[in-house]
């Protein structure tokens, strides 16, 4: 037996359900343009029938339906797809930052134009050619000075632009780290909201959309993994460390790194341990700052140091119009002040290391001579010592090539007098200083008796930088050394001011035993002009020409890779987002048809209520009692 008024209750349910349906349609249409919004659907079920036949078997066939009810409002979202988008965001964030900054680095090269450092260097060599033909001509001397000034200005400018890119990246890192922290906080807050709502058995659709959006933004910055441990507890980790766990989150912090020119290191706020990232904007920025940009600065420094050293080496042996000899053409400041290269690295007031840039042997070697000796050289490399073997059948030239290609941070060449010259290279590890020879050891006699650099062979006679007066291991009679630059050479190189005041002191002439060949001699000028194509060994590049070509190709290829990768990931991202959009996006036409159906449903159920009302009216008012 059922209630007389039951159909009215049924009608009310129908009206409420359809109103809710219509409201959701409205909500969907209103949010059609909101980024990250996923459309919502009202799921309606038939209400459970009023009674259960097994309880009371009355003479009624079947169960009597009780209308409709809204079981849940769900969002339509593929969490698997969302996971892929989140991980692609990471790749996209990485390449976006890389593409942007590499383009800046490329533009700093100014190639291939007539305003690049390479072009200025070409003009510098050209002016020496001119001087070699007109050594007595003051105009040619002034031209050399002006071109040199233009070159040093060009090098300074490039250095400062690289430096400002590095500073810009540093600023970007600071901003990015604080963004990670605020994202972590927001996600943690949302987590606690979501947990509360879910505890009540509701679906916090809009909050979840918002959280998904924040997670994908976070993923573009750092490489994260998202897991849902306990029901409702969401965990975000990076590199095995928790960033967010439920309503808690960990912060990142910055620490100035003295070994890395004061640029900051990203650490965990609580443990102060270094945070390591493998993807996303932050990893990209760190790599750009300490890898690519630092590499560019180091390459420029390397070029400058070698260039200065070699021009000075030739220039010092030449003679000016005034008979002056032994003048440096370029000056660099500040170098290590101690003549033995002793330096106090940790600032405790005592010398603890020796910073020597170049050592030159006492003996004159011929490149084609057979060594007739066997042994192993131990040289410092980026990842520990590098061993270079030599056999009696090797020529001097062979061994020099082998040293240069060994991957050690030492470059070897025979200088203009045919003496073996070993030079420190930029260090790959920020903990090691650039342009410092960190160690030399020879188990045989090549570095010892043959070329005349070290006093003794074996570990006992090894040269090691991490002590004061390390130069005592060098041969005292004839082995020469030059101390290392402290600051970036590219930022400091200047033409010797004495020459600027007195162009006559520029050494164009050669001479012997302290006597100039005469003011009309241009041999030194020619020798300087010819350094351009001489094998000078700046790193792997043998000449200045190949050095520049190599740098151009290297940075260009990096940029090309970044641009291509970004384009690829953009396409992938577009595909994925299209897929998400096609699943979760709002389609107005669809919503409108839904609206029409709810509208008509509403009208129909309202009609039902009216009809039943009329029926009740018949019973109540017109039935004759």
């Amino acid at each position: 037996m059922q209630s007389t008024f039951a159909p009215i209750e049924l009608g009310k349910r129908g009206i409420i359900a359809h109103t809710q349906g219509l409201q959701t349609v409205g909500h969907n249409m209103s949010n059609a343009g909101v980024e990250g919004y996923s459309r919502q659907r009202v799921e309606m079920n038939a209400s459970p029938p009023l009674y259960f036949p097994q309880l009371n078997r009355e003479n009624t066939p079947g169960q009597i339906g009780q209308g409709v009810e809204v079981s849940r409002i769900g969002r339509i979202k593929d969490m698997l797809l969302e996971g892929r988008i989140v991980s692609e965001e990471n790749v996209q964030g990485f390449w976006e930052a890389r593409d942007k900054y590499l383009l800046m680095l490329e533009q700093i090269h100014n190639e291939p134009t007539e305003y690049s450092v390479r072009a200025l260097l070409d003009r510098f060599w050209e002016s020496w050619q001119d001087l070699s033909l007109n050594p007595t001509d003051l105009a040619s001397r002034r031209a050399v000075l002006q071109r040199s000034k233009a070159l040093t200005d060009g090098i300074h400018d490039r250095y400062h632009r690289l430096k400002s890119v590095r500073d810009m990246i540093e600023g970007d890192i600071r901003g990015t780290v604080s963004r990670v922290n605020s994202l972590g906080g927001e996600i943690a807050d949302l987590n606690s909201e979501i947990m509360k709502v879910q505890a009540l058995g509701d679906n916090p659709n809009d909050l979840m959309d918002r959280r998904d959006k924040l997670v994908s933004e976070m993923s573009s910055i750092v490489d994260i993994t998202v897991t849902y441990n306990d029901p409702g507890e969401m965990v975000v980790t990076t590199g095995g460390m928790h960033l967010v766990q439920g309503k808690h989150h960990e912060s990142l912090a910055l620490e100035a790194d003295a070994a890395n020119e004061g640029y900051s290191r990203v650490v965990w706020d609580d443990t102060r341990g270094t945070a390591v990232f493998r993807g996303g904007t932050l990893a990209s920025l760190l790599e750009l700052r300490d890898g690519d940009t630092r590499g560019e600065v180091q390459a420029l420094d390397l070029m400058t140091v070698n260039f200065t050293d070699m021009v000075n080496e030739v220039h010092r042996r030449g003679f000016g119009l005034d008979g002056a000899a032994g003048t440096d053409f370029f000056v660099e400041q500040p170098f290590v002040l101690d003549v033995a290269g002793n330096y106090d690295s940790n600032g405790d007031g005592a010398f603890d290391s020796s910073r020597v840039f170049r050592v030159t042997g006492a003996n004159t070697l011929a490149p084609k001579d057979l060594l007739g000796l066997a042994g192993t050289l131990t040289l410092p490399g980026s990842a520990g010592p590098v061993a270079v073997d030599y056999q009696p059948t090797d020529t001097v030239e062979d061994l020099i090539t082998r040293i240069n290609l060994s991957g050690s941070e030492i470059a070897a060449r025979l200088n203009s007098e045919g003496k073996l010259s070993l030079r420190g290279m930029p260090a790959e590890d920020t903990a090691n200083p650039d342009f410092v020879i960190r160690g030399l050891e020879d188990s045989g006699q090549f570095l010892v008796g043959y070329s005349g650099i070290l006093r003794a062979s074996g570990p006992a006679g090894a040269y090691a930088w991490a002590q004061a007066d390390a130069v005592n291991a060098l041969r005292q009679d004839g082995a020469q050394y030059a101390v290392a630059p402290l600051a970036h050479p590219a930022g400091w190189i200047e033409v010797n001011p004495r020459l600027m005041e007195n162009p006559g002191s520029i050494a164009a002439a050669s001479g012997l035993a302290g006597r100039s060949e005469g003011i009309g001699d241009g041999a030194t000028a020619l020798a300087i002009a010819q350094l351009r194509t001489r094998p000078v060994m700046i790193g792997f590049a043998s000449t200045f020409d190949s050095f520049f070509a190599d740098r151009i190709a290297a940075i260009g290829l990096k940029g090309e890779e970044a641009a291509r990768s970004l384009e690829t990931v953009n396409l992938v991202m577009k595909e994925l987002k299209d897929m998400r959009e096609s699943l979760s996006g709002v389609n107005i036409d669809e919503e409108l048809t839904q609206m029409i159906s709810y509208q008509h449903g509403y009208a129909a159920i309202a009609r039902f209520v009216t009809t039943f009302d009329e029926m009740l009216d018949v019973i109540i008012n017109r039935m004759g009692v």
Binding site: E106, P112, S116, G520, G522, Q530, I552, A553, G556, D589
Partner: protein, 415 residues
């Protein structure tokens, strides 16, 4: 069932339009800059090659300039040498005239005066300067007058006359680079150009027991020769003969002393370098630090003289009135001077020919390099325009489509 969201077509349209607009902008930039490499990433390898080529072009330019400069200098020198030859020809004519023996003493004297005047002319040529005030024939001592005159009374002559001419320049040979690793000598040292006879220096010290006492260096005509401890005189001679200098060393068969002689008429230029004493010990050079050519040992005998010595000899023979001397040593000296000068002219001509060849090669190479560079760097305008046009066309089509697709919705039909 496939579905899309209402926003999707507009997202798509804007994505592709942005991409295309970026490409059009990129293309337009490249066309404006007339370069296919706007950023290095556009073609890193071509950019690297282009940088190399640009350096190479600048260098080739420089070599061309060097070739021109050196040719001009040699031409200036050659002009002076030619006039010296002309003067010498005139002197020879006078010599032939005087050697007849039919002239009387007075007439011989007059000719002597004329030869003296011509000597003056030769000295002016020897001390000639170029346009920037540098002496042409002083080696690398550009501002030092190469030939110093000593004047005095000459028997039979009237007034002071030049009695000897000393060379004060040096043997410095400056060179210019005319292509990769190729150099050419620029200057003409006066003691080569104006030299008439082979020069010989005879030491008087028996050198058979000689050993070099310590590693030392000697320099002959600017070429350095390294000697090691214990070298015997034959080792020293072998090293001198092997050196890159037109000089020969031998032992005098009688005195067993060292003899150094030229193989091409010029003045010997011998030095002990850096405190070594090998040539001093061998009795060739004097001790002390006097510079060449005034550093030969007093005991050594020196033969062979300059062109000026020959003319002075002829003049003196005329003034003396000795037709026999004029005809023998006088004329022979002049002949040698002319031969030697002609040799120098031939050398200058050969150098000039080499420079001309190099110049032609450079002139041919440069446009090639420019062309290679252009291939690497410059934009193919026809292709660029075609591509820009096709981008433009597709862009227009896309806009058109977007306008059509994005417009209608169910809303347009709901009343």
């Amino acid at each position: 069932m496939k579905r899309i969201s209402t926003q999707l077509p507009s997202y798509d349209a804007s994505y592709y339009m942005r991409l295309r607009e970026w490409r059009m902008n990129d293309m337009q930039n490249k066309m404006a800059a007339q370069s296919r490499i706007k950023d290095l990433r556009d073609d890193p390898l071509a950019a690297a090659r282009s940088a190399r080529l640009q350096s190479e072009i600048l260098r080739t330019d420089r070599w061309e300039k060097n070739v021109e400069t050196v040719r001009n200098r040699l031409a200036t020198g050659e002009g002076h040498i030619r006039s010296a030859v002309d003067v010498l020809q005139r002197i020879r004519e006078l010599g032939v005239e005087g050697a007849n023996g039919i002239l009387d003493r007075n007439q011989m004297g007059y000719i002597g005066e004329e030869v003296n005047a011509l000597l003056g002319e030769l000295l002016i040529i020897g001390n000639a300067k170029d346009e920037s005030g540098n002496y042409l024939f002083s080696g690398s001592l550009s501002r030092t007058e190469p030939f110093r005159l000593t004047q005095g009374h000459v028997p039979g002559g009237s007034g002071d006359m030049v009695t000897s001419v000393d060379y004060l320049g040096n043997v410095g040979r400056s060179s210019a680079e005319i292509s990769e690793d190729a150099e050419v000598g620029v200057n003409l040292p006066g003691n080569v150009v104006f030299w008439a006879e082979q020069q010989q220096i005879y030491s008087t010290i028996d050198a058979r027991q000689y050993r070099v006492q310590s590693d030392s260096t000697i320099r002959i005509d600017g070429a350095e020769i390294r000697l090691s401890t214990g070298d015997t005189v034959s080792a020293v001679m072998a090293k001198i003969n092997d050196a890159n200098a037109p000089v020969k060393a031998r032992l005098d068969p009688v005195a067993n002393s060292l003899v150094i002689e030229t193989t091409l008429p010029h003045q010997l230029w011998l030095e002990d370098i850096g405190g070594g004493t090998v040539l001093q010990d061998l009795g060739i050079l004097s001790s002390g630090d006097s510079h060449p050519p005034l550093n030969t040992a007093r005991s050594a005998r020196v033969f062979g003289g300059s062109l000026f010595d020959q003319v002075i000899g002829l003049r003196d023979a005329f003034l003396e009135g000795s037709a026999e001397k004029v005809g023998s040593s006088g004329l022979r000296g002049i002949e040698q001077a002319i031969t030697s000068l002609s040799g120098v002219l031939a050398d200058v001509g050969a150098r000039d020919a080499r420079l001309e060849t190099t110049g032609k090669r450079l002139a041919w190479e440069k446009p090639e390099l420019v062309r290679f560079d252009s291939q690497e760097r410059d934009l193919d305008l026809a292709e660029a325009i075609t591509r820009l046009k096709s981008l433009e066309y597709t862009h227009e089509a896309a806009l058109n489509t977007a306008a059509r697709v994005l417009k209608p919705s169910l809303l347009d039909f709901l009343r």
